[in-house]
């Protein structure tokens, strides 16, 4: 009985997909466009998160020791600073190492090497657990004996955090709006399909088909529309993002890695299926609530 019912559901779904090809194409392409918008928002947010994460990683609090502080005294401060709860890691940078880095990063300095003595002092570089704590850590670092100057990203770190949060919220709101639009579109398409198949529905009701069996082909169809739309969206978004990531990587600008695209595609497919299914549930429930009519 269950197998026969499943077979009936699948056959009816395939038959209707074939018969109402135009409706199917219209729905699948509209869902695809919506999911492309939704997917783009998600990828943009993910890229932004990767980028701001990378930026905040670059934001360090640096403490420069006074010239008259001996290296031995400077090194003694590393362990106590490492014990601070806000600090993830502490790196001691000798003035020689700092100078080498400057020369590497700024080749013009390298050219003047013979003319200039190393002006840098020994320093500590602190990586902070939460970028919002940077200001507090900077102030605390100023109190450490031997530290003469402290430099940190300051307002940039906090702006990045605020920006990230704002984008996350607006992305969530836009995604919800897109999802609602998708549900409405599928809902209307399934209503159309129900209307064009009102005679089949009527006969099914008349011969005593259960509501579940009547509804199932429509739900499956809605879900398939959503899935196909999502697959189309994936086919566009994934290669485009891979290309953009490749371009950005050449400029040392990090975007979401390709490895994250598989789970992204799976989530998008799931979103398409859920969207299609939900839209269908609304229409079918509404339609089946009314008493059957032949509509000659």
């Amino acid at each position: 009985m269950i197998l026969a019912a499943l077979d009936f559901i699948c056959r009816e779904t395939v038959l209707h997909l074939k018969r109402e090809r135009l409706i199917a194409i219209a729905t699948v392409s509209t869902v695809a466009v919506l999911l492309i918008v939704l997917g783009s928002i998600v990828l943009f947010l993910a890229d932004l998160k990767t980028w701001t994460g990378w930026m905040t990683d670059q934001l360090e609090v640096c403490g420069f020791f006074a010239k008259d502080t001996t290296r031995e005294d400077a090194l003694k401060t590393v362990d106590p600073i490492s014990a601070w709860s806000e600090v993830e890691s502490v790196r001691f940078v000798t003035k020689e190492e700092g100078w080498e880095r400057q020369k590497r990063d700024y080749p013009s300095i390298a050219r003047l090497e013979d003319a200039i003595d190393n002006p840098l002092p020994d320093a500590v570089q602190l990586k902070i657990r939460d970028p919002e704590q940077s200001a507090r850590v900077a102030k605390r670092l100023e109190q450490v004996p031997g530290i003469e100057a402290v430099r940190w990203g300051g307002s940039l770190a906090q702006s990045l955090v605020r920006f990230n949060r704002a984008v996350n919220w607006s992305g969530l709101v836009v995604s919800l709006l897109v999802a609602v639009a998708g549900i409405l579109i599928v809902h209307n398409t399934v209503r159309l399909a129900l209307h064009s198949r009102r005679r089949e529905v009527y006969i099914m009701q008349l011969v005593g088909a259960t509501r579940a069996l009547i509804a199932a082909p429509f739900l499956l169809e809605g879900m398939l529309h959503g899935l196909l739309g999502a697959a189309l969206a994936c086919c566009l978004l994934v290669p485009v993002h891979m290309y953009l990531r490749d371009l950005a990587a050449r400029s040392f600008f990090p975007l979401t890695p390709d490895s994250a695209l598989l789970p992204f595609a799976l989530y998008l497919l799931l979103a398409g299926a859920v969207l299609g299914f939900t839209g269908s549930v609304f229409s079918v429930r509404r339609y089946l609530r009314h008493k059957p009519e032949w509509h000659g």
Partner: protein, 233 residues
């Protein structure tokens, strides 16, 4: 003989305020064949609709095979309808082949493939359409279309068959054929209730005749004919 259909003091009022049926008391036993006659618009179709729960009474009780129809839950309506086959004047066929039309109801109620493969040819050959199994309704005559509608019902093997003006769109020969099919189903055990205003078939068969006029039963004879004065009553 236990009752297949029982109506107790049933009144149906449409949302427009029109009373379609008034204080109907009626019992039809299992295996009985009865005609429901009366002018158009006097409640025949409404009475049939009560039996497959397309209409609900404003008052009174309706029983089909012991089930109190208005009281059954929405989820049980499907189970009631499996016990009631309906034939309409306008055939109500799907744009599918004869085979698919008959098989559709069986599939839709979860019958196994083996059962479908057995019942569809049986039903089609019973109504004489086996050789037209791959024809669409548009390629069939009116009589054949109604035969197909009957085959769809016969394949479901319901204990109660309702026919609402089944010969209304047919020529006399086709009408006779349809009535023979319904009579055969009755001989095989189904209770049959036919709503009609065709005097020829009522008078030819001499079965129980229930006369409805202005929503009331005005006559109920065990082997009656079509009342001559129905139009003037």
């Amino acid at each position: 003989m236990p009752a297949c259909v029982e109506l107790k003091d049933v009144t149906v009022v449409y949302p427009s305020g029109v009373t379609a049926l008034s204080n109907i008391d009626l019992t039809i036993d299992e295996g009985e064949f009865a005609f429901l006659v009366g002018p158009t618009g006097h409640g025949k179709s409404t009475l049939l609709k009560l039996l497959y729960r397309e209409e609900l009474p404003a008052r009174g009780r309706v029983f089909v095979s012991g089930w109190e129809v208005p009281r059954i839950s929405a989820s049980r309506v499907a189970h009631l309808r499996r016990r009631v086959g309906v034939v309409f004047q306008e055939f109500r066929l799907l744009p599918r082949t004869a085979w698919e039309s008959v098989a559709f109801g069986l599939h839709a109620t979860g019958r196994s493939y083996r059962e479908v493969l057995r019942r569809v040819p049986d039903a089609l050959s019973e109504v004489g359409l086996l050789d037209k199994a791959d024809h669409h309704p548009s390629a069939l005559s009116a009589g054949e279309q109604q035969s197909l509608a009957v085959a769809r019902v016969l394949a479901m093997r319901p204990p109660l068959i309702l026919a609402d003006e089944p010969t209304g769109n047919l020529d006399p020969a086709s009408s006779r054929h349809i009535m023979q099919l319904l009579e055969r189903a009755n001989r095989e055990g189904a209770t049959v209730l036919v709503a009609t205003h065709d005097p020829a078939i009522v008078n030819a068969m001499r079965r129980r005749v229930i006369v409805l006029h202005h929503g009331r039963i005005v006559q109920d004879e065990p082997e009656g004919g079509y009342p001559d004065d129905l139009g003037r009553a």
